[in-house]
Symmetry: D2
Subunit: 258 residues, 4 copies
């Protein structure tokens, strides 16, 4: 049968990235506490396509994914990228796995356990043989508004917020370390299971530490700057303001000079 893809391009332009998007896949991820955990990933895969070729061979991405039977990690991501480069004779390969990472949380007063899911994404790009990887982690937290607290006779508006971190590493770190950074940066962490004594504890802890999105993003940035294995980061905090129907946000990106 004719191999249309290998024919000459009508328009000889380099394509930065071409591939497949939105493949769903059960995966296993390393887990600091349990060794490994099962979850589900949404996967994108791509390569660079030289100007001379009409098309890439899309089915080879699926073959690479079917053939890749390792737990998701920095090392296995490197293996997958190498395999994609080889199968598609490409100069550069790209892969992204978006998944929910589960962590057992212990409620702060009664010690009741429950599982909380964190949206994560590990994306890698390999040019030559050197992979560049970015880890994204979203951590739901609670914020209490310092302004509302200072000016009101009673109370202060609080709300759920999200800390989103994108991190380029220069050494290994657990997802749990970044969850801890986000939790410690907000008015309080959140939990699936809170008994009455826990709800009291969380409320009082949060009201003892009222913080703007500006404060939270600065706390996160400070901790990420200090982390020995973080080479670059972008931190965003988005707060679902309870007194508005819109959100507040703040972003800090680390810079070369930092």
């Amino acid at each position: 049968m004719q191999d249309i893809q290998s024919g000459p391009a009508n328009v000889p332009l380099l394509i930065d990235r071409v591939g497949v998007k939105g493949l769903e896949l059960p995966i296993v991820v390393s887990d600091r506490d349990k060794g490994a955990q099962h979850t589900v990933a949404l996967v994108d895969l791509g390569v660079e396509l030289p100007a001379a070729f009409k098309g890439t061979h899309m089915s080879r991405f699926i073959e690479a994914l079917e053939n890749w039977n390792e737990d998701l990690s920095y090392r296995s991501m490197k293996n997958l990228l190498r395999d994609i480069k080889a199968r598609l004779s490409a100069q550069s390969a790209y892969a992204s796995f978006a998944f929910t990472y589960f962590r057992r949380r212990i409620s702060p007063a009664s010690g009741a356990p429950s599982l909380l899911g964190y949206r994560c994404r590990l994306a890698g790009e390999m040019k030559n043989d050197k992979p560049d990887m970015i880890l994204d982690i979203t951590v739901p937290v609670m914020t209490v508004c310092p302004c509302s607290k200072a000016i009101s006779k009673e109370g202060a508006h609080s709300q759920r917020a999200e800390v989103r971190m994108s991190i380029r590493m220069k050494g290994f770190a657990w997802i749990e370390e970044f969850i801890d950074i986000a939790d410690a940066s907000a008015s309080s962490s959140v939990y699936p299971l809170l008994k009455r004594e826990d709800e009291k504890f969380v409320t009082e802890r949060a009201f003892a530490s009222p913080l703007f999105v500006e404060d939270v993003v600065r706390n996160v940035a400070t901790a990420l700057k200090r982390h020995p294995h973080v080479q670059w980061f972008r931190a965003e905090v988005e707060s679902f303001e309870s007194i508005h129907a819109h959100n507040a946000f703040a972003i800090i990106e680390s810079h070369a000079a930092d």
Copy 2:
């Protein structure tokens, strides 16, 4: 050209509803304060298809919509449904318009104005010549937790919540009336623009009226039962709990016996 659709069905089964989904359209909606307002709708249109016919004529839905140049209202919805029935020789026709309805809010202390968008949907079905219409309105509000307030030395967790009402009318009512019902049922209404004195006012008002989702949905249901033009309703309150990553919800539907 061959009219495949009008041919006999391979399988002679009545189809309850067949049509088009996800058409976007700029529309004009009646506005209690300004007379009319411009917004954008996502439109679904359908008919019942008798067992004898292979297919419906999808392009006629678009023609009906293109030809329908009225402001969206109960009356114009009726006209559209009649036109679809006629164009498609159908026993029953269906139309749904999902749109954002904008209302000017005045902040409670400083009187500062700002526009707030409410997600709405008007859906109508016409069998014979009698239309059945359901209006959906979603109102963002604020809730303060009574339990958290009672047990904590200081503060109480608050959060954004949504009141969602589905209403079958037996007389005319403005969208504004249902927004007012939702606002009055919660710990506080929300506003796009709040100056510092407004934020103080909203915080203090909300903390003076702590309410569970159960309380809010009962307040909404009570007001809808009393409204002279509401024939049937379903009310749901969903609260984006600030101490959790999950939500709390409560639903009351009116019953024939009510």
Copy 3:
């Protein structure tokens, strides 16, 4: 500490359903081929609340879920509903698990295997001791337009479509049986991995069987009516028309008289 929830309601109205929404959880589901598979569920849990009580105890839902350590099945759903009823002293309990179910597909010509994910949901409600369960399954398929094929000199527009089935059972059936019904009802099934000979096979098979959404939904309804363990169903087909930016849809619901 004060138990606010157990106090009297301000407004003594029965609440049809109150609970928690959007909990994420890793689960294990029975798998016809492998025995069991790991996936992730989005969970909603609720109960009916009598008019006399102010509020439900939200944390008990999470405790029930944490305590429930079975694979998801009709039997284990029944156990969970019974446990929720008991923990919350409720007359009726509700649970819904939305998850992706993975099935190995074999490409039709080369026999190449790959995993395809199907969006599913199992929802159960228990009043007294009798559970009512609904299974939802969404199956992506391909449709070729019979009208376009009949009137064009060459080709016909094809597109991805989704078959969505909601099923109330009166006996056990595998998810795989309903995937097979949807696949056999469309112009062709879809696959993650297709080699060139498979792509030729799928294209030719689809063009040999051009079908409107009306045809597909009637095929699905016919097969579901014949299935010995289906008591009630609602079937919807939505086709992402390639010649439009909007979709076509068709719905058949089984009726008591059927």
Copy 4:
């Protein structure tokens, strides 16, 4: 009342961007054919915050937006950014308006008119007094697969696809010019209203021009390179493959050296 925001930061770090997200607003946009059109925008606004200040004044963004009563354009965006900078005493300001732009399409054979909505976004950032603006436009189109066509006895799989362009301009251009570029780059454009003769025309035109996502993105890139007022662009094509449940994509970004 206390102005907490103007107080000193606990952690003196520059915040790259802080502001509000997700405000909905009815707007008027310039329209090449009709002069102006009404639509609805989702608005994000932000500023840079120096290391010395604890917080920004979020309500001033809403005041700027309420006060800005111009049609959306490059010029009015500049005015809004200047106003935000002034109101918040900021070194840099950011604004983004995401909206649907409607254009009347004429079907290719029968000449029947219908409105098609295109998702657009205009984002501007002003440092000092120079604004940098990016326009995003998404155009739904149709693709026919050249490989499927070449190897199959009959037919070829086709599908809806999206062309997404992000453009930095060095002169004025209408949104319509970029819609035309996307349409001309694909196998066919799509239309809301197609009569039978139009469906024949579109099918035959698409099958006469089978194109991979790679071909389409190269066609788009070539046309954008030639456009006299395009300074930089990123073009992505994503095709909702009808033989798969996943998508194919291709991206070309213009480079400094181009």
